[in-house]
Amino acid sequence: MAAISLKVNGHVHAVDVDPQTPLLYVLSDDLHLRGPKFGCGLAQCGACTVMIQGEPVRSCVMPVSAVKEREVIPLEGLGTPEKPHPIQQAFIDEGAAQCGFCLSGVILSAKAVLDRNPKASEEQIREGLSSVLCRCFAHTRMMRAIKRYQGRHA
């Protein structure tokens, strides 16, 4: 165990954990965040995705000690229920989910693509979602939501 300082959503937290602990466990067990979730633990599905320096990162395979001073932004860090981020609002408007367990991977990965390239083609967006899964297969609504966001804000 070691004292580790972790910056999440603008707040610095001190946690006492094994430095090898996957970031996901610290976010969900110690900080009680609900956005990133355990899907596979193998970086194959995207449910645990968080943003670090604008990049989508699979928090299930990143040791917490590797984060260092960089800020972690999970899904609940984009916007709030009262004031959702425009991409979250686009997903709300399109009803782009069924169970919703996959949304960290879908929303954050799509946002990262459009942050880098606001004019990304559909093919480029899909490429950015290549290892993101949704097992309810809300795919068509999700793509509509991403394009709605792109059309208005990206």
């Binding site: 193998l42 919703g100 990965s109």
Partner: protein, 763 residues
């Protein structure tokens, strides 16, 4: 750290029900009605109105349902139902789902039965109608006018001259003390203001902003973490567990062994992960598995439980005298539920009581299972549903609930168990493998005179139900026997046609003792099913057996069409007589701008890309929903890759309660069906399952080029409510297979249609 009070603390402190707290999925939780139930009540009487509804002093309504939302929209649509019947707005209603202490026992949320159960003339709908009639009666008395002089809006009962009284004033905080009245008048669909509208799902904002509480997010004070150690091979048993091998791991609380069940408990999740990985267990090997490559032949040779569903007793003679006979065999593999989240549950088992936070579809049956595993009296066990990721049937939700109960009981502390992806893939109850032999005899004029179908499906275990915890792996490992196949010869059919598994093709008349219950017109008919033992656990997977059977029926129908050079739509219609299935076929064909002609498509290229269209239709479970699906595909004949370009669905589920919810189910259903048709298959070697992650089990990621999906919803306000969750998915493999044939002339008779299988069929 912890901002909100947990359920457990709240319940302990208040001694009263209720609700909401950390689980609140609504954007703006409102004041919660103080319900009339105590938290340890072991039986909720469904005959009593107070079991279903409570109205608070501020007029908010808390309703209690035994049908839960796993992502299919039941939270929203049941909220609409209560709001509609009670004449209040959707945001005045708080729905409490599936909690054995406070909600009625409505069995399992499965089989597209939730809407039929709660929306037809009983249960939640009838309770809300009873409450409305009671409230308007109270208002009439209070205001001194007759009931017909009153109108209700948003829970305010008013006279024509503007005098009014609110629900809160009439009953707020008090019991109704009434029985649910089966004669209470339901609103007519023509009067609907809330039902029938595309009300946005009530959980949407919380989901999109990452604030929704899944079972994975449940935190209970003092909670520690568990992991399980499953047998590495099918049937292996424990020889020795070396507990010393993990004593060096910090935070380890206990290694738990019960028969062949092994788990570890540690203070932190990461410590439990390491302990589960490092624990040295010596296993005795199980017996070897039947080879996968010969498995479908193996199935035919097994002893079986047989059921004859229809038998006109002239099938052999009719086949002999038919102008032409066609035969084909279709096979379908085991498939996984493959839920997005590996399953998770939290259990707090104390010396004399247990509370389980579980993603189960079946809180009451799970309570019995936990009682059996822990030897605690059933009244001392409380199971609270908290949504997991979409389950699509019996995934590992029940088994992980049992895992948590066993581990918590061993340490007498609350334990959260998270399965790994590998655990999930080897722990769940797979959708069954099937073999289906088809045979049809045609008349001289090319019509089908006789259809003979014989099917084999595997089975082991299943839903634990109220008395079979061994039906899932944890119960079996802990020493309970799973349900096995009780061998039985088929009796001749009697009574009414029961087609729950869609074993009987839609084109058959379905006649038993002169009474014909099938949607079709073919009178020469025989359907015989065999259930055979499975080496792996099986259980319901979205559209269980209905999907496998429909794949075989609808593709075989297409083969017959092609053999007589008939248009697949016209020829289907020629053999159907039920108007509702006829209507969906016509509606789908019209919306798809169906190219009426025989398949395969004339002039299709023999190399490179070829395109085609196919159709399939269904009377789900015989009479629980109607759908037809047109698929348009492009086949790359060099690589064998199949891409679906367009799906057109026509859908009839009776009165439509929420069109957006139905569309969401259809869209997700056809794509999930496409994934199952094109890639999904459980694999094994001689000892163990080898499809254990998202690389070894195929699924379609968000990278795929999606087909356009068009849904035609046929509203039937006068009909009873039918299921909508499993109709469209049931048709995907058949419609795609038929479209591949149309494009290329190659018939795929084995799911999934992998590139190699497509290439082999083309060769």
């Amino acid at each position: 750290m912890k901002k909100k009070i947990s359920r457990r603390d709240f319940v302990k402190a208040s001694g009263m029900l209720v609700v909401g707290f950390s689980a609140a999925p609504l954007l703006e939780p409102f004041a919660v009605a103080q319900g009339p139930f105590d938290t340890h009540r072991s039986h909720v009487d469904p005959e009593k109105l107070d079991s279903w509804l409570a109205v608070a002093a501020d007029g908010t309504v808390t309703a209690y349902t035994g049908k839960c939302d796993m992502g299919q929209g039941m939270l929203t649509v049941q909220t609409q139902l209560v709001a509609e019947e009670l004449c209040v707005s959707v945001n005045q209603v708080k729905l409490i789902q599936c909690d054995t202490s406070i909600t009625p026992d409505q069995g399992t949320t499965s089989g597209s039965q939730s809407t039929p159960t709660n929306f037809n003339t009983r249960n939640l709908a009838q309770a809300a109608a009873t409450a409305r009639e009671a409230l308007i009666g109270m208002a009439a008395q209070k205001l001194g006018v007759s009931v017909d002089q009153l109108a209700i809006e948003n829970g305010i009962v008013s006279t024509k001259n503007g005098r009014h009284v609110s629900y809160g004033e009439l009953i707020g905080g008090k019991h109704f003390e009434l029985s649910v009245n089966a004669a209470a008048k339901r609103k007519l669909p023509s009067e609907w203001k809330v039902l029938g509208k595309p009300v946005p799902s009530v959980d949407r904002v919380a989901l999109m902003t990452g604030t929704f509480e899944f079972v994975h997010n449940v935190h209970v004070p003092g909670m520690v973490h568990g992991r399980v150690v499953r047998p590495p091979e099918i049937g292996s048993t424990v020889a020795n567990v070396d507990e010393k091998s993990v004593q060096h791991i910090p935070g380890l609380i206990k290694v738990v062994v019960r028969n062949n069940f092994i788990g570890v408990v540690a203070e932190k999740q990461w410590q439990a992960v390491q302990a589960a990985r490092e624990l040295k267990v010596t296993w005795k090997p199980g017996s070897s598995l039947p080879p996968q490559k010969d498995f479908y032949d193996y199935m035919r040779k097994q002893p079986s439980r047989d059921v004859m569903l229809v038998n006109s007793r002239d099938v052999s003679d009719s086949l002999k005298s038919a102008a032409r006979v066609l035969k084909a065999t279709y096979v379908h593999p085991y498939q996984a539920h493959g839920s997005m989240g590996s399953s998770c549950a939290v259990a707090d088992v104390q010396a004399h009581s247990a509370t389980i936070w579980s993603p189960t579809q079946s809180v009451y049956p799970t309570r019995l299972g936990v009682s059996a595993l822990t030897a605690l009296p059933v009244d001392s066990v409380r199971v609270i549903f908290v949504r997991g990721s979409g389950c699509y049937g019996l995934n590992a939700a029940d088994t992980v609930s049992f895992d948590a109960a066993l581990l918590s009981q061993a340490v007498l502390r609350p334990v959260r168990v998270q399965l790994t992806r590998h655990d999930e893939f080897i722990s769940e109850n797979y959708g069954a493998a099937c073999v289906i032999d088809q045979q049809a005899g045609l008349d001289a004029d090319g019509a089908i005179g006789v259809w003979d179908c014989e099917a084999w499906a595997v089975s082991l275990g299943g839903r634990p139900g109220y008395d079979k915890p061994g039906n899932v792996i944890t119960g079996m490992l802990a020493g309970f026997d799973p349900e096995t196949v009780a061998l039985r010869k088929a009796a001749e059919p009697s009574g009414e046609l029961a087609n729950r598994n869609n074993a009987v093709p839609s084109y058959l008349a379905g006649c038993i003792d002169g009474k014909c219950g099938g949607p079709g017109s073919i009178r020469g008919e025989r359907v015989l099913t065999h259930t055979v033992p499975s080496p792996f656990f099986t259980g319901p997977l979205r559209s269980p057996l209905r999907l496998q059977n429909t794949f075989a029926h609808e593709c075989f129908m297409d083969e017959i069409c092609a053999s007589v050079k008939a248009d697949p739509v016209a020829y289907r219609l020629q053999h159907l007589k039920e108007p509702r299935i006829i209507d969906v076929v016509k509606a789908a064909a019209k919306a798809a701008n169906w190219d009426a002609r025989p398949s395969p498509k004339p002039g299709s290229p023999r190399a490179g890309a070829a395109t085609g269209r196919g159709i399939a239709c269904l009377a789900y479970e015989g009479d629980n929903g109607y759908a037809a699906l047109v698929a348009e595909v492009e086949v790359d004949q060099a690589s064998g890759q199949v891409r679906v370009r367009r799906f057109v669905v026509a859908h009839d589920c009776g009165p439509i309660s929420n069109p957006d919810g139905v569309r969401n189910q259809i869209e997700g259903g056809v794509l999930q069906g496409m994934s199952r048709a094109l890639g999904e298959e459980i694999t094994w070697n001689d000892r163990k399952i080898t499809s254990t992650d998202w690389q070894s089990y195929n699924t379609l990621s968000l990278e795929i080029q999606m087909p356009v999906i068009e849904s035609v919803l046929i509203d039937r306000p006068a009909s009873r409510a039918l299921g909508a969750g499993e109709t469209a998915i049931t048709l995907a493999a058949a419609a795609i297979g038929n479209a591949i044939f149309d494009a290329t002339g190659a018939r795929l008779r084995e799911v999934p249609f992998t590139p190699n299988r497509v290439k082999a069929a083309l060769a």
